[in-house]
């Protein structure tokens, strides 16, 4: 089943200097392997190309069934010197949840 991530997972974005972190947590841990397969660092970098300079690093937390994406921004695009309306990149969690992926067994 092809779904927007918003249908199967929740997320929160944070920031450190010119890095954004975005966590991705499936509502049902049974979908975690599918998210691991589909939501690759490359897919996230391409999806968020407007805000992320890349390369994206992904951390798996199998103990929590959660993923963390660390997304480097351009060097001059730090939280304090950014010209973006959302300088912190806090809304990036919502952007990630717009990504469409294949999740077997997900609700339609």
């Amino acid at each position: 089943m092809r779904v927007r991530l918003h249908e199967v997972a929740h997320a929160r974005a944070g920031d450190k200097g010119n890095l954004n972190t975005i966590s991705l947590i499936p509502y049902d841990p049974a979908w975690y392997p599918a998210l691991c397969a589909a939501v690759t660092p490359e897919a996230v970098a391409a999806h968020l190309a407007d805000r992320v300079a890349g390369p994206v690093v992904r951390h798996r937390l199998d103990n929590l069934a959660a993923l963390i994406f660390v997304c480097p921004r351009a060097p001059e695009d730090t939280v304090t010197t950014s010209l973006h309306l959302d300088a912190h990149g806090k809304s990036l969690s919502s952007a990630l949840l717009e990504l469409e992926v294949e999740v077997p067994g997900a609700p339609g």
Binding site: S23, L64, T80, T81, L85
Partner: protein
């Protein structure tokens, strides 16, 4: 004296956070300690700049308001308070709190933790983490604050102070230090330092673990969001903890809210660095026991980093901004035309320019925005320039759209502000000397 369990709460997760939940926690929480985390990455740099203009302006302006509400309940319940709201002037903040106690008839001994200000001992040729260039190549440095840890806060907790005011203490350390003090932990016990740091990391953003910054109607409902309760943790001497909130308050504490906060702002879950420990979250277990109670255990610790992180503030120039709105049929096309006009007019003026259409593509760009036509949208233009006049040109060109731009623009907003940029570097621990200044409670200043 140490106990088998500590009760610790978070009463503020950032400088402008609500005040009432902290009072409620002190009144009803049966707490040992409440911590207020009030310092963002650039807040201390801004405070340093304020202090240059006004010697009394170096600490969090909201602190007096918070303490006016909290001093009496703290005194009555015997709860201690730890905060980093001292920002660029912890001693000045402590003086203010002590004077406020005298004014309110609640004599309060206050301890200030000093030594995080390392501007005079910073290696200005050290590379910034962000771009690898020497710190001093970015502009005039106005502040440098080392992230000090529990070892700097513990001597203050050994005094009779009811209120401990620090500057740039690391956020989780505001919680770890009182836990270590209450439970008698050794700061070289990496497992317990990790457990306490994990608790601090979960609590430090206040409402973010109790359902704040979480609600998504239809997906993630949060009851009573307008009356959100802030969190408290019950922590055992072995480091096992339960995160919860006061009965009757709004919000929710469950596996979902806890895992979102656990993963928040984490760049390496196997090596989360603080001044106190290197925390490994890869074996943490989160158990939802219902009733807004979540048990957390399994943090693993390795020795703390040899160097301390330093946040360095520098003068980064001036940011000029302007916004104007368009509505009705063709609003997006008129906003795009206005954008073209402003781009052409400002070519080469600010060093960097960004032009967005709010209501369409301002947050994540045109690709995600698609082709949807909004009823209304706003042109937003922002520029960064070395001098104020070039930054002001941004607002001037957006203003000129009133009589010289596309049809129907309205709701003009313009502004210019100095930008204090923040860079990161490290400093050897031995170059940072922390201390404690105790101001005994009693009358007068």
């Amino acid at each position: 004296m140490t106990t088998a369990q500590a009760r610790i709460a978070c009463g503020a997760g950032f400088a402008a956070d609500r005040t009432a939940p902290a009072v409620d926690l002190v009144e009803r929480g049966d707490l040992d300690v409440i911590a207020l985390e009030c310092l963002g990455e650039r807040t201390v740099a801004l405070a340093a700049l304020r202090r240059l203009a006004d010697p009394a302006g170096g600490f969090d302006p909201m602190l007096a308001k918070r303490m006016r509400l909290l001093l009496e309940p703290l005194h009555r319940t015997g709860t201690r308070l730890v905060t980093n709201a001292g920002a660029a002037d912890p001693v000045g903040a402590a003086r203010m709190v002590r004077a406020l106690g005298a004014e309110l008839g609640v004599p309060t001994t206050v301890a200030a933790v000093t030594g995080d200000d390392v501007l005079d001992r910073l290696d200005r040729t050290a590379p910034a983490w962000e771009d690898g260039l020497p710190l001093e190549a970015h502009g005039e440095l106005v502040s440098a604050n080392a992230y000090i840890g529990a070892d700097a806060l513990l001597p203050a907790l050994d005094t009779p102070a009811a209120v401990v005011v620090a500057g740039r203490a690391a956020d989780p350390s505001l919680f770890l230090a009182p836990l270590a003090h209450t439970l008698g932990w050794d700061t070289a016990d990496w497992a317990r330092m990790a457990a306490g740091t994990l608790v601090g990391h979960l609590l430090e953003c206040a409402g973010q673990v109790t359902g704040g910054y979480f609600a998504d109607p239809g997906r993630k409902p949060v009851p009573g969001l307008a009356d959100l309760g802030y969190p408290l943790a019950e922590v055992d001497s072995d480091g096992a903890a339960v995160v919860t909130k006061l009965p009757g308050t709004g919000g929710r504490v469950d596996r979902m809210t806890v895992v979102e906060q656990l993963t928040y702002e984490v760049t390496d879950p196997r090596g989360y660095l603080t001044p106190d420990v290197t925390l490994d979250m890869s074996a943490v277990a989160v158990t939802d026991t219902g009733g807004d109670r979540v048990a957390v255990r399994g943090a693993r610790g390795r020795p703390r980093p040899a160097e301390l992180k330093v946040s360095v503030g520098y003068r980064a120039g001036f940011r000029g901004e302007g916004e104007i709105g368009y509505a009705g049929t063709g609003a997006l096309a008129r906003a795009r035309l206005a954008a073209e006009v402003v781009r052409e007019r400002l070519a080469g003026v600010p060093a960097r320019l960004r032009v967005d259409i709010v209501g369409h593509s301002a947050l994540h760009g045109a690709a995600l925005a698609g082709a949807a036509e909004p009823y209304e949208c706003r042109l937003r233009v922002a520029g960064l320039a070395a001098d104020r006049a070039a930054a002001e040109a941004v607002g001037e060109e957006v203003s000129a759209l009133y009589t010289s731009g596309p049809a129907g623009g309205g709701g003009l907003r313009v502004g210019t502000e100095e930008v204090i940029g923040v860079l990161s570097t490290t400093i050897p621990r031995e170059r940072v000397e922390t201390g404690v200044v105790v101001l005994e409670g009693g009358a007068g200043r």
